[in-house]
Structures are given as structure tokens and as C-alpha cells.
Amino acid sequence: MEFKVALDTMWVLVTAMLVFFMNLGFAMVEAGFARMKNCVNILSKNFIVFAVSSLGFLVLGWGLMFGDGNAFVGLKGLFFAGGLDNSPATGLAYQGVYSAISWTGVPLWAKFFFQLVFCGTAATIVSGVVAERIKYKSFIFFTFAMTMFIYPVIGHWIWGGGWLAQKGMFDFAGSTVVHSVGGWAALSGVLMLGPRFGKYHNGNINPIPGHNLSLATLGTFVLWFGWFGFNPGSTMAADPLAISHIAVTTNTAAAAAVMSSTIISWMLLGKPDLGMTLNGCLAGLVAINAPCAFVSVGSAILIGLIAGILVVLAVIGFDRIRIDDPVGALSVHLVNGIFGTLCIGIFAQDKITGVATGNGLLFGGGAKLLLAQLTGVVSTAAYTFIVSLLTWAVLKATLGIRVSLQEEIEGLDIGEHGNSAYPEFLGRKPGYSFLGTKNS
């Protein structure tokens, strides 16, 4: 027993560290996909977001998410993860106020740290979508809201023993809890903010190329790496069969999505666009998040292939409907977060790594599971979108959420931070990078 606790704790901590490391991945992808003149701002947002999450989730988020309470929120041990708790005791031996997560036999702080890095991921997703025009201060405040009561409430519903868990909805590693929540929060933000200056002009869509594809590729590799913490770690126990299975479903879905996104962009756009390949990889990883422990490696290939196609169409589609997402995060996290969640309903095979999910649609389980998943998708959408929209609205009315047009043109680096990311490199000057270009 003692060894098992030590072993499981080590697994949980090591995988949590990998997930923490994904912050670097997000920072580099988002900075690389944005313009030089906003680089410091994006780096700053992606850097501070985890600090804010660490405090927000400690102060209130954890308690709201895992505290014993009703079907909607936790009510006990709300603040500073300070409730009674005798972890690593599990099952009947457990005595404390965080019973929803007492199934894993690791110390309280290991649970907290693992859950914190997930919360941080949801928060960081928002950063990319609202990039290149949001006020730094408002983003910080939104992140507090996100990690203190937006994410934790959905978390409670699904992972904290809330009503969705009771309804039989599954989300192994967070396609909904983390990615869709991040996506909906971001979507509400982008609707409040509007597109970047110059993006849509006289009916044209002006491409605004990212300034550094080396960084973007670096970031995507780091994310892929971190995902081996995200998914296999979500067992929160070093269960050999499960974690091996999950490592391979995760990787296979990513690989399939890389291929399908590359091929589809080659076909649609004439050439294999690296940005699409990178987004494709992330799409596959997001889509396999929820089902990674419940589907076969064969199904993982299929899920990946579809995810890679979805993301390319979504990137193009969002632009068509004038939703300006500089880094493609909506297509990756929102669209594929939803798709991945539904995949359980379609591809699940009962007890494939031990968990009794029942079978999905394609494996003779009928629509029951799919419906539970759909309920999860819709209710998450409703709560997250509405509460986020309200939060943005309050911020807009008080601090303001968008920088001035002049600051946007000159770049947020000087305006918000007084820094420039590459002061010694000669660049095409602000406002010039995309203005020398015209749709063909």
C-alpha cells in the first residue's frame, strides 16, 4: 500500500509537471502566430496566466470544484484547499470534505497540483484567441474569474461529483472540462472584442501572418510532449495497462491528425501549410482527450483523422463568419473539445482500460452514452458562455477590454509594457507587415 501511494504520487506529480510545461507550449505557439509588435504582450499574458491561476485556484477554485456540496457547486472546504482531508486514504477510509476526488490514493497537495495545472490550461486557452487587442489588466482580471468560478463550476459538474457525472457523462482528461470551457470563454471574449484592426476590410479577409514559425513549431512539440502528462496522468495512478494504452491512443490520434490536416490543407490550399499542420496536431490531441482511456488504438486513428480535417475547415470557417481568432484556438480547443467529448458516445468500448463506460454508438451501445455526452456539451456551453460573457461585459464597462486603436496599430508591446521583444532586429515596421499585401 505504502509503495502504491508513493508510486502513484510520483506519477501524478511527474505528469502534472509535464502539464505545467504546456504553458511554455501555449506561450510559444501563440507568440509565434502573432505579430512581432505584440510579442511581449502575448508572452506576458501567457506567463502571468499560470501565476494567476495558481492563486485563483488555491484561494477558491479548488474548493468550489471538489468540495462536498450539491450537484452544482462545492460548498465545503472552499478556501485555500483548507478543508478536512485525510488523503492519501481512499474509499471508505477517506475522511474529509473533498470526497469526489478521494478515489485516487495520493496526498492532498498532489491532487491539488494536478488539478491546478489543468485549470491553468483552460485559462491559457483564452489568451491566444483574444490576442493582439486585449488590455493586459482586463485579461488578468478575467483569468481570476475563470479560475475562481467559471472553470471550477463545470469541473464540479463533471469531475467533482456534480449532476453531469451523475447523469453518466464521461470526460476522461478534459475535452470538455478544460478545452471546451477554455474555448467558450474565449469565444465570448472575441465576440465582445471584435476582430483586430485591418483583419476584415471591405469584404476582404486579410491574412495576418504570425511572426515566428520556429517558435510556433517549438511550442507545438512542447504541447504534444505535455499531453503525455495530460492524458496518461489523468489516471492519477500508475495503472500500467491504462497508462500504456492511453499513451498510445494519445500519440496515434495526434499523428493521424497531423497527416489529415496536412493532406486536407494541401488539397484545399494547394500547398501544405505548416500552420495548419501544427493546429492539426493540437486538434488531434484535444479530440482524444476525453476518449483516450475508453477507445481502441484503431478508433484513435479515426478520431485523429477527423479532428485534423475539422480543424482546417473550422479555421477557414471562423474567418468566413468574421470571428477573428489569431491562433486558431477556437478551432482547436472548442470545436475539437466538443468533437472529442462526443467521440466517447460514438467510439467507447466498455472497460477497455477498466472503466465501465458502456459501449458507444458504433460498438453496439446505442445512443445512450452519446446523449449523456451531448447533455454535457450543451450545458457546459450554456453556463460557460453566459457567465464568461457577463464577466467580459462587466470588465468592458469598468476597465475597458480593448486597447485604443492607435495602441493596436503601434503594437501592444510599447503601449502596454513599454518593451519591445526584438529591439535589435530590423523588422518591417508596425502596420506595414500586412498592408503591403493584398488578396490575390
Binding site: 496599430i409 510599447i414 513599454g418 518593451n419 519591445s420 529591439p423 530590423l426 518591417r428 515596421k429 508596425p430 502596420g431 506595414y432 498592408l435 503591403g436
Partner: protein
Amino acid sequence: MKKIEAIIRPEKLDGVRRVLESAHCAGLMISEIEGHGKQKGVVQQWRGEKYKVELLPKIKIEIIVRDQDVERIAEAIIGAAKTGEVGDGKIFIYHVENAIRIRTGERGEVAL
């Protein structure tokens, strides 16, 4: 032939190019310079110390045109580049003795 050398704000390049196109201006050269004039510099900071970058990014456009086109083109540029704020830039006119098109060896105004 004359050379029109226009120093403009970077963000005006797109507009200027558009009017030049309408004005049937055959070709141009663009370079990135840093300028200093009446306009004040930008304050930046680095680890606690503020500093002023007094050299501001400007775009230099050079166009070689026939004598009779100088006024028309200069006016077109002024129209597109003007904001009325300090820092709008200048236009300078120079005499050009000859022009050669490398591809064909043509000389003089036909080479433009």
C-alpha cells in the same frame, strides 16, 4: 526625368501605394529608414530604466518619373500621406540624368 523621394509614416504606405497605382505610376522603390525631425520619440523601458528611442521608423519611397508627372504624383502622395499631425514627412525632388532598363538596354524616359 526627376526622382520623387517621399518620407512617409509606415502606416500610410498602403494608402500611398493605392493612389500611386491609380496615378499609373510605373515603378517604385521602398526602403525602411529611421528618421528624426520635429516628431518626438517613443519612450521604452528596460529593467527599470526608461529610454527614448528618438529615431522613428519611416518609409522612404523613391519614384523616377517624367518631368511633367512630378506635380501630379507629388500631390497624389500628399493626399494619401497627410494626417495633419507632426511627423507626416517630406517630399524631395531631384534631377535624374538618365535611366536604363537592364532587361532591354533602353535608355531615357522609355526605360521608366
